[in-house]
Amino acid sequence: MSVVKRPSQKAKWYIPGILTGLKITMKHMLFNLTHRKEMMTINYPEEKYQYSDRFKGNHILTVKKDGSLRCTACMLCATYCPAECISIIAAEHDDPAVEKFPISYEIDILRCVFCGFCEEACPVDAIRMGPEHQTAAIAGERFIYDITQLAYRPENKGGVLSKVDDEERHRRGL
């Protein structure tokens, strides 16, 4: 036999419940008013969340010391890409020490899944996942990022230097 316990007459009073709820709300409001620095909300366009170094954001093509692209157009990133969003056109370089270089390096940003496999596949540290979050755009803007967007956009300040140097590699016999 089961015993059904009906709520007592005391539990029908809802005003104490409302007051406890309001107390919590007022506590948070007063805390936020007095402690502006410790507030939970990030005021987005003015304040920005600090990401860790391994954050995978928009792509960066690194440059050499003379400002040209570090990429050697070996097609490893385009082969490894699971979303098939990278397309490279290689060309012969005037300098005989440089084998080939990309005349067009395009990433279809609508297809990209920001997995970071291109960064892992690259043998010469030519492509990196940058520290900026993904950029939203209104219809009609370009969604296929080219070299000027990837390497020389204003956030990069004239290009990010690659860790791997050509002269060092030749000295080591690579």
Partner: protein, 159 residues
């Protein structure tokens, strides 16, 4: 007194024009990022995106996230026809924009959002960060009312 009430009315009208009510059609990991943008850390009500609507006829913005097959495409078309005019569409993530995580090999019947309805704001990423969603809301405000916003004017004056 009548002057004051009329000023108040124009203020309220202006505020209402800047407040968008979304209808969220989300699935998968993008929906978690959208919930994150709604919650206290990245509160998007500050930037003029209201709480989710109860019915599609109350909403002005349609937020599409997650993969779209033929059944879902019909649902999106039906909801888009019910939205308040001018209707705005925000497509979030690689699934709805190109279907790239699903289109490669296994399934063929994935449809892109821009093939069904006119998309106004594109947010790439898999999934995009909540900041990308907030910057999309700012882009939307800039598209609807060109020129410097009150936020930019205030921040320039405070410097």
């Amino acid at each position: 007194m009548s002057y004051l009430t009329s000023r108040f009315e124009t203020l309220v009208m202006g505020l209402e024009k800047k407040l968008h009510v979304p209808w969220v059609l989300s699935e998968g990991c993008c929906s978690i990022e959208i919930q994150n943008a709604q919650l206290a850390t990245y509160d998007w009500q500050r930037l003029g995106m209201d709480d989710c609507a109860v019915e599609p006829s109350e909403a002005q913005v349609l937020i599409i996230a997650g993969w779209i097959n033929s059944t879902r495409a019909d649902e999106i078309k039906e909801i888009y026809s019910k939205l308040q005019k001018p209707a705005l569409v925000m497509a979030v993530g690689a699934c709805s924009l190109s279907g790239s995580p699903y289109k490669l090999g296994q399934t063929k019947n994935i449809i892109c959002a821009q093939d069904i309805v006119p998309v106004d704001i594109f947010i790439p990423g898999c999934p995009p960060r909540p900041e990308a969603l907030l910057s999309a809301v700012l882009e939307l405000q800039r598209k609807l009312s060109p020129g410097p916003s009150s936020r930019e004017v205030l921040s320039a004056a405070l410097k």
